[in-house]
């Protein structure tokens, strides 16, 4: 298989439902905590080192061949807000559909059967990368990038932010993305070598959890999460 599969998987146009999710930025915009590119940068940085790191490690571990059902339970334990668990499973189900159509594999079929309503998205992402012949590091990069790419795109739509500024935010996060992906892969190897799921990072962002739960109850909103 080819490394170029990573470009297909990481492409914002990959039809896996991400476009309808703001990664918490809609709630942050409403609360007045994100109003310009500088806040967006801090928002993305915080999300990258928390949710992003956890997602990247889950994805890398799934790509390495760790039991996805156990990883899904680990994802549940790291996602206390029910609204975020629901969103993660919906996105996992949507990604599963795209993945099975794109890189079919018996492992994906088995995971789809085990979770008809969707497994956590990063777990599906890791297994998708594995089915596409990609490396754990690729899966980690993909998950880490998604954790900031989604909010940046949503901020452009919500705030009318200059898209060049939003893209600049992402570009300047690159060195931190590298570090997060490295840490994620390191953790995933530890999980495999020592059989300890608690080697997976558990970094949390209290505001993302709180505001996601509040957002799910809004009667009017643009994004699903």
């Amino acid at each position: 298989m080819s490394r170029a599969a990573l470009l297909v998987l990481a492409d914002g146009r990959f039809p896996a439902g991400g476009h309808a999710h703001s990664g918490g930025v809609e709630a942050a915009v409403r609360a007045g905590r994100v109003t310009a590119a500088a806040d967006l940068a801090e928002f993305c940085r915080g999300r990258l080192h928390t949710t992003g790191l956890v997602s990247a490690a889950l994805a890398a571990a799934a790509a390495l061949g760790t039991d996805p059902v156990a990883l899904d339970a680990a994802a549940d334990a790291r996602t206390p807000a029910p609204a975020l668990r629901t969103a993660a499973r919906r996105l996992g189900r949507q990604l599963m559909r795209a993945a099975r159509a794109t890189w079919p594999s018996p492992e994906l079929d088995a995971l789809a059967r085990a979770f008809p309503k969707g497994a956590h998205q990063p777990v599906v992402l890791g297994l998708t990368a594995r089915s596409a012949g990609l490396e754990p590091q690729d899966a980690a990069y993909c998950a880490a990038y998604e954790s900031v790419g989604g909010p940046a795109t949503a901020a452009v739509r919500l705030l009318g932010l200059d898209p060049f500024d939003a893209t600049g935010v992402l570009a300047r996060l690159a060195p931190e993305l590298d570090r997060v992906a490295d840490r994620a892969v390191e953790a995933a190897r530890e999980v495999r070598d020592e059989g300890r799921l608690d080697a997976l990072p558990a970094a949390s962002a209290p505001l993302l959890e709180l505001t996601a739960q509040a957002h799910a109850g809004w009667p009017v909103r643009l994004f699903a999460s």
Binding site: L48, L53, D198, S204, E209
Partner: protein
């Protein structure tokens, strides 16, 4: 004892059913800065207060508190005052590990005072609760970032709860100078200086989970994927935080 590399100290509290409808404490040991004292309990619940015999934890210290609640025993643990993480003589981080096990039909109410991360301190706290499927737990954790008007130290706090071996909660918060970027930004703390959690585990949640609900902007009751509930709260200061957590606990106990 305190050396240049810091103090190693362990406190142990074991609670057992005493056979007369109450709870006894066959083990109640302290060391160095950790001094558990039996205080007046209520009904069949024994009560222990952790009294800080020295200041700390300081850089390089390694403190452990092990609490074991046996079948049918009921224990409440509090502390006499807030714990303040302070800078030590060494540049090493301090560790504070809380290990909790509760057997079937045992109950632990773990309600210590706040942990305050003073400027220049560096502390890694882990709290791990291993519960039998029929165990009950109320566990409160409050972190205050900096004393009044002070920049916080470095604080990382990991909270893990297992029920019958299955992990239902694993959360780590890292903040202060040197923490991964964005910790005080709009996704994580956004300037809030007090952050807290209450975990409630009860076998009745196996039948019916409480609904998720917001308590204002700053706190939420979050049913977990297992028979447990997390209250998570953010506040400008320790007082507001305690008020939010008390309110949430009252809501949960009404349910």
């Amino acid at each position: 004892m305190r050396t240049t590399s810091g103090v190693r100290a362990t406190a142990r509290v074991h609670a057992r059913r005493d056979g007369r409808g109450g709870t006894c404490l066959p083990v109640l040991d302290g060391e160095g800065p950790l001094a558990p004292r039996r205080t007046r309990g209520t009904g069949d619940e024994a009560r222990v207060t952790l009294v800080g015999a020295m200041s700390g934890p300081l850089g390089g210290d390694r403190l452990t508190v092990e609490t074991e609640v046996g079948e049918g025993a009921r224990l409440r643990v509090g502390s006499a005052a807030a714990t303040i993480a302070l800078p030590g003589q060494t540049k090493e981080e301090a560790r504070y590990d809380v290990r909790i096990t509760v057997a079937d039909d045992g109950e632990l109410r773990w309600l210590p005072e706040q942990l305050i991360s003073a400027g220049g301190s560096d502390l890694y706290v882990t709290t791990r609760a291993d519960l039998a499927p029929g165990a009950r737990l109320v566990l409160r954790e409050e972190q205050v970032l900096g004393r009044a008007g002070e920049e916080p130290g470095r604080l990382t706090s990991r909270l893990t709860v297992r029920i019958g071996g299955g992990c239902v909660l694993d959360q780590e918060l890292s903040c202060g100078p040197g923490a991964p970027g964005g910790w005080d930004g709009p996704a994580v703390l956004a300037g809030h200086r007090a952050v807290g959690q209450v975990v409630v585990v009860h076998p009745r949640y196996g039948e019916r989970m409480p609904e998720a609900r917001m308590l204002g902007e700053g706190a939420a009751v979050l049913p977990l994927a297992g028979p447990a509930v997390l209250v998570t709260a953010l506040a400008p200061d320790a007082l507001c935080l305690r008020r939010l957590l008390d309110e949430a606990l009252a809501v949960l106990e009404r349910d």
